[in-house]
Symmetry: D3
Subunit: 220 residues, 6 copies
Amino acid sequence: MSRSIYVVNPNSNKAVTAGIDEAVERLRIDGGPAIEALTLEDGPPGIQSQRDADGVVAPLLRLASTLEDEAAAFVIACFSDPGLHALREQSARPVLGIAECGVLTALTMGQRFGVIAILPNSIPRHLRAFGAMGVSGRLAGELAVGLTIAELADDRNTLLRLVQVGRRLRDDYHADTIVMGCAGMARFRRRLEDAVGLPVIEPTQAAVGMAMARVLLGSG
Amino acid sequence: MSRSIYVVNPNSNKAVTAGIDEAVERLRIDGGPAIEALTLEDGPPGIQSQRDADGVVAPLLRLASTLEDEAAAFVIACFSDPGLHALREQSARPVLGIAECGVLTALTMGQRFGVIAILPNSIPRHLRAFGAMGVSGRLAGELAVGLTIAELADDRNTLLRLVQVGRRLRDDYHADTIVMGCAGMARFRRRLEDAVGLPVIEPTQAAVGMAMARVLLGSG
Amino acid sequence: MSRSIYVVNPNSNKAVTAGIDEAVERLRIDGGPAIEALTLEDGPPGIQSQRDADGVVAPLLRLASTLEDEAAAFVIACFSDPGLHALREQSARPVLGIAECGVLTALTMGQRFGVIAILPNSIPRHLRAFGAMGVSGRLAGELAVGLTIAELADDRNTLLRLVQVGRRLRDDYHADTIVMGCAGMARFRRRLEDAVGLPVIEPTQAAVGMAMARVLLGSG
Amino acid sequence: MSRSIYVVNPNSNKAVTAGIDEAVERLRIDGGPAIEALTLEDGPPGIQSQRDADGVVAPLLRLASTLEDEAAAFVIACFSDPGLHALREQSARPVLGIAECGVLTALTMGQRFGVIAILPNSIPRHLRAFGAMGVSGRLAGELAVGLTIAELADDRNTLLRLVQVGRRLRDDYHADTIVMGCAGMARFRRRLEDAVGLPVIEPTQAAVGMAMARVLLGSG
Amino acid sequence: MSRSIYVVNPNSNKAVTAGIDEAVERLRIDGGPAIEALTLEDGPPGIQSQRDADGVVAPLLRLASTLEDEAAAFVIACFSDPGLHALREQSARPVLGIAECGVLTALTMGQRFGVIAILPNSIPRHLRAFGAMGVSGRLAGELAVGLTIAELADDRNTLLRLVQVGRRLRDDYHADTIVMGCAGMARFRRRLEDAVGLPVIEPTQAAVGMAMARVLLGSG
Amino acid sequence: MSRSIYVVNPNSNKAVTAGIDEAVERLRIDGGPAIEALTLEDGPPGIQSQRDADGVVAPLLRLASTLEDEAAAFVIACFSDPGLHALREQSARPVLGIAECGVLTALTMGQRFGVIAILPNSIPRHLRAFGAMGVSGRLAGELAVGLTIAELADDRNTLLRLVQVGRRLRDDYHADTIVMGCAGMARFRRRLEDAVGLPVIEPTQAAVGMAMARVLLGSG
């Protein structure tokens, strides 16, 4: 199979892209499609607002357009799923968003999913998305770690906050699964899962997994 | 009051802007805020896809930014409410979308609202928005007239189709109010209402009305 | 425009009517409709139960009937929206309820609205109304200040309680807008907003604003 | 047991009361509570509007007040459940509404309930009630026979219309149970059930049955 | 009336059956159907998992099959409602489940029901059931006492935990009614109600009450 | 990777198992987990009722228990997802159901999914499942082909009926994706898709795809 699943990080932060690349490593297998993590060079340093999310759609569509022929599928690796529906219109390939797939995968692993956002102001945006998906009734709650991009560089503190928030979702909101509401942080998944004692879904993995199945099955 | 409510048509079609301008004429009163209909010159000829909707956000935000100081409020005059939440982040003024306000106004006039879209492929986009708004349970149905921009130039046929679709929403979907799912067609509102026998909400009027109240009250 | 928007306080408490009158002052403009706050003389001192709410419908309809010819619109200024649907049947004018309009306006200002009730036993009644409106999914929570009519006379303490409850809705229920679940207390709106740091909707203002637009537009 | 379940017909139509009386005959058993059907003499000839529904609350509460001491429970025998929540506030006895109980009983007999209303304009009122009850997701649809009180006197035609509407709910709306959206028509239940081939719930029977259990159990 | 309502305890714990028998004593009246509590001898000691719930369906159906001719109705007396829909298919008699009827009865007694489960791992199973019933919007919350079958033998401690959890549902979750999420514990109902100050629904009583009405009315 | 994804057909019909085996052929790749389709020998010829669905849980759990050590994951290949939650309790492996995964995958391919059932009496069972999943708001409708197991042997007629029903879901119910509500019929997927012009999801493929990703990622 010569076409690739393109996992597009719509921000320009290459550390995030590296984290995405690492997240999907286990999905790269001999008979499977190639999986390439890409950085949207024209994207902002991080997607921290609705404006950022809307703003990356145009460059994302342009990038995807240049990749269409070699693409087996596209995964948009940002928890705001920017451009998800626009790219579905443009491309003949499967297009998956990590928020959508992360949440849907959580629905198969527990009854009430909790979401850990990075920033508090992302939460209303995510809630709108869950409403548009029609799955709000399954949401236990969403809370933010409240760390800036700079602060996220401190892995030890980031894990600490993830665990604190995860435990609060478990204890106060009765979440029985946790969705990481961000891309590029797969390295924390297992440790977060161990510390909280609930299944933790890393959404880029969930989305690339669903993309892979779509590609292998040859469905549109 | 020297600041204006800017009603931005995010497509470049000046006939639509003229229709918007006409729609809000009755809301221009002594003592009230000025109401100016503007064309987003950088917008596409029409907003006919999610791509179009996402694509106008950046120029819309730029335009709004230049107007911020003179703005009393902003109304985004496209039934996809493009940039609604992004502009709310950016601006200190009230920001209203015509889909949101058209639907909310319909909720005060009947129990089940029907929506008339222009194109069928807009319907899923609108359904996502109603889901994000949390009002899907009040939707009777949405149907499209299925006319292209060119075809919309024929007023007689357009009215005919609006009436056909409105009657179908009334008879087969039990709608008791009708929301026009587009901007710039206020000239048909009264005739549609008379022919269908249900209240018809022209969404730009609904949104500018709500903006006007916000401006007068001085709420954020 | 010689007809008036009648804002009917369905209780007999003239201090409440005075508060309503003050609340809508900024909506009285040269070219706009007159706005008159009226007391339902036959109403109870306060609407503190479902019985009170149901009981005012008949005198409210009678009063409205005598005003029909001079009415441009009716606003029912009680957060239980008593007689809302009955008056819609009776009158050919726009009829708006403050709970309905307060909540709908909140939907344009945040993702999850909180409501501050006066008495705890009003909350189930309000929840039924939000269910009937189909917007329960957007409710963050509703809490009561728990003050009697007599206690409400102490403005300082009332504000204190409003702020306490507003902060609790913000912190524990994740509300990002607050709807005041009562009429006649507009004087606290700005201070509450400042103290809580969230937009606060005074529902009579919201309803009269929507009524004004309906009147100017001449819609039914 | 000397106290009675009072089944109050809130309209003044004694033929309806007689129908109610007949409907509950089979629930009158030796060891059970007495069941008395009463006419609200001050009620309108029929409850055909929200105004009618609201208007009967005050006389209904007065009547119930005089009966409180002898009452084991109250059933409000009108599909608009007028005064249901007000009477619950007033009385220390179980208070049940026929719409509420008819629908809840239907939920135990099928997955999607259809409702047959008498008049089309009652449907929005019923929809608001289902929304307030939080069960709208189980509604297949509601349709009206469209007969006036006078026309209902013709049993043959009434049955014909009930069957037509019941079949339409079954075939076009996929209802698998039918709730009769009115009081006093129990005599048609069995024939309607036979003709449509779905379980048909007569709501007064459902409510009196639930009241009887509450009375026997001595719950509040 | 010679046929009986069979109230089947689908676990083999005869103390639970005895508790069920006692729970329905007040519903046994002259003129009413006999009510017999039965133990499913082939059932597990308790239904503590989905596996247990699914596992009792086959023996439950077999038992019900042998009883069909003498049965007036069946009540499945386990809060997981095991076999509810399967038995409805098999039997020509009314079939009621205690979770379904307990919840539906709660809907007539308050606006937001709380549920007290025995074990925490039952909660997701119950939530799925409430979702299937379409009533999740009315749920205030569900919490578990967290006692094993052995620990439940200590009545004093069990009541203590029921009250603690009931108060938490009232205070932190705003429940205004409480449904006991188990069978066989009717002896605590009144004391729990007194201690919490909210109506408490014992679900077997609710279900047998609804069954009794169905039997008397002769509906299918 | 030496452990297998076991795709269990819970009925004893080996033709169905063969269809399942064929369905997943494209997901068998170098480097990926083995995928084995198994027949539950103790299952009924078909799962055509709630009784059938409940009845296979015990033998299914037994079979899964014997396979636990060699299992990488389990997929329950029946659109009633029998035993889904019970097997999740029992097994340490990922457990996926085809209805759940088929529907969730549809949510990524359109806004309103339609479902084609085999038999009409399965529809209420499926609706309960969608309710428990919390996704009913995305359902366009479900219709049955109404063919018996014997009639399904006629491929030509089966395809004809699938297409008729698929077109009706598209035209009358506004479905924009179709989920095949059965296992073992993957051979029709492409032709159905071509004839209806909408994406068609074969649910066993969807579930095995999701299982494969879970296995590769090593998540619990």
